[in-house]
């Protein structure tokens, strides 16, 4: 729980993986990289992500005006599942193709 916002939001999720960023990289650098990959992963589901750059919150939105604020990756995946009306399956071929594209 965050003592400032009283929010119960687990941060860790296996999808955060092992960060390949250089050890001396500025902290925001990994964050931008993660947001960029998230954008590529969410695009095939018709969703967008925007990052205010501070706090742990990201905004996940569809293209019809619905949006959710999500803190941490577990919340991101849950919000994406609700907004796209289908659970995000890590083995979905469409998703894997998007990941391959983003990893290039």
């Amino acid at each position: 729980m965050c003592v400032l916002c009283y929010e119960l939001a687990p941060e860790d999720h296996w999808s955060d993986g092992v960060r390949p960023g250089e050890p001396s990289a500025p902290p925001l650098r990994d964050r931008h990289r993660r947001t960029r990959i998230l954008a590529a992963v969410l695009a095939p589901y018709g969703l967008t992500v925007s990052d205010p750059g501070a706090g742990r919150h990201l905004t996940i939105a569809d293209r019809k005006g619905a949006a959710e604020v999500a803190a941490g990756l577990p919340a991101v995946w849950e919000a994406a599942g609700r907004l796209s009306s289908r659970p995000l399956d890590p083995l979905d071929p469409v998703l894997l193709a998007a990941l391959a594209e983003a990893g290039r």
Partner: protein, 303 residues
């Protein structure tokens, strides 16, 4: 030079289409009912306001609203107001394929022609977003003006399309993104500037699915912003177009109707103001500043 401030009411009946296309209400019976309120209750109230002050207005009506609220649309046509296009279900133009966008526009032009006896001349892109295909589609379907670009506020201008800019990509060298914006081409389409600060919806419509939705701004505060903008335009400009963008979803509510009455009375207390349709404002601008060609300035000299 005599003052000539043209005042315009642009009214978008977003209604159910707005909840389907833009406000995240597709699964909410409550939101859909608010859309029904806009078309069936809010629209006649706003019409009555215009009748009270004998004002012309321009109604940008999504195809969904034309087909769902034929009686309200007939009242608008019978009152002699102008009708413009505004998508079918308030789709985001940049989310559609070019074919989807053309199918939507062509059908809406047909609907407006059918209910009003005249094809629309004016367009408001839902979300105020023009796609890459929007300008050529508008020209193909005979539109002469648009109310969607934000390059200027209270002075009309010609639309410019194809501006390009470089996003920051922190994975690249800085030199990859240190590039200025490149201006595109000016096209023969008059713009009555889109201006969020003249729009009633973001401050005064509660949207459940938008995390930053307010919707609880006191109309008296909105009235103060609008009066300040009018006062500045009236002091600084001899000519200008002061255009409201309102929605019966919001403007059809008592607290906003009363505020609009006060606004109209305030504006009417000034010399040299007139109320016109958006088409009249756009046509008048063409006589002041003819289309300058693709590389000309979108702005009239001195503006």
């Amino acid at each position: 030079m005599a003052k000539d401030i043209k005042c315009v009411f642009g009214v978008d009946i977003d209604a159910v289409g707005g909840w389907l296309g833009s406000y995240g209400g597709e699964d909410s019976p409550s939101d859909i009912q608010r859309g029904m309120f806009s078309g069936e209750i809010g629209t006649p109230r706003v019409l009555k306001l215009f009748q009270k002050f004998d004002l012309p207005a321009t109604w940008f009506i999504p195809g969904h609203s034309i087909e769902t609220f034929p009686d309200s649309v007939k009242m608008i046509v019978d009152a002699g107001h102008e009708i413009g296009a505004h998508g079918y279900s308030h789709e985001n133009p940049i989310a559609m394929t070019p074919k989807q966008e053309e199918d939507v526009l062509a059908y809406c032009v047909e609907l407006i022609d059918k209910v009003s006896g005249r094809a629309p001349r004016g367009y408001v892109p839902p979300w105020w977003e023009m796609s890459n295909s929007t300008p050529s589609l508008l020209q193909k379907y005979g539109f002469t003006y648009d109310h969607g670009q934000g390059l200027h506020d209270f002075m009309p201008f010609y639309a410019r399309v194809g501006d390009s800019w470089t996003k920051i990509d922190y994975a690249q060298e800085a030199s990859a993104w240190m590039k200025p914006l490149e201006r595109g081409e000016v096209i023969d389409l008059v713009e009555i500037g889109a201006n969020w600060y003249m729009d009633d919806l973001p401050p005064m419509m509660f949207i459940k699915k938008a995390p930053n939705s307010a919707g609880w701004v006191n109309p008296r505060d909105v009235e103060a912003w609008w009066k300040d903008q009018f006062d500045w335009v009236y002091r600084e400009q001899d000519y200008g177009v002061y255009a409201f963008t309102i929605h019966p979803d919001v403007a059809g509510r008592p607290q906003v109707l009363l505020m609009l009455e006060r606004m109209i009375e305030y504006i009417n207390g000034h010399e040299g103001v007139s109320w016109v349709t958006m088409e009249a404002a756009a046509d008048d601008f063409r006589t002041r500043y003819a289309y300058p060609g693709p590389t000309g300035s979108p702005f009239m000299p001195g503006s």
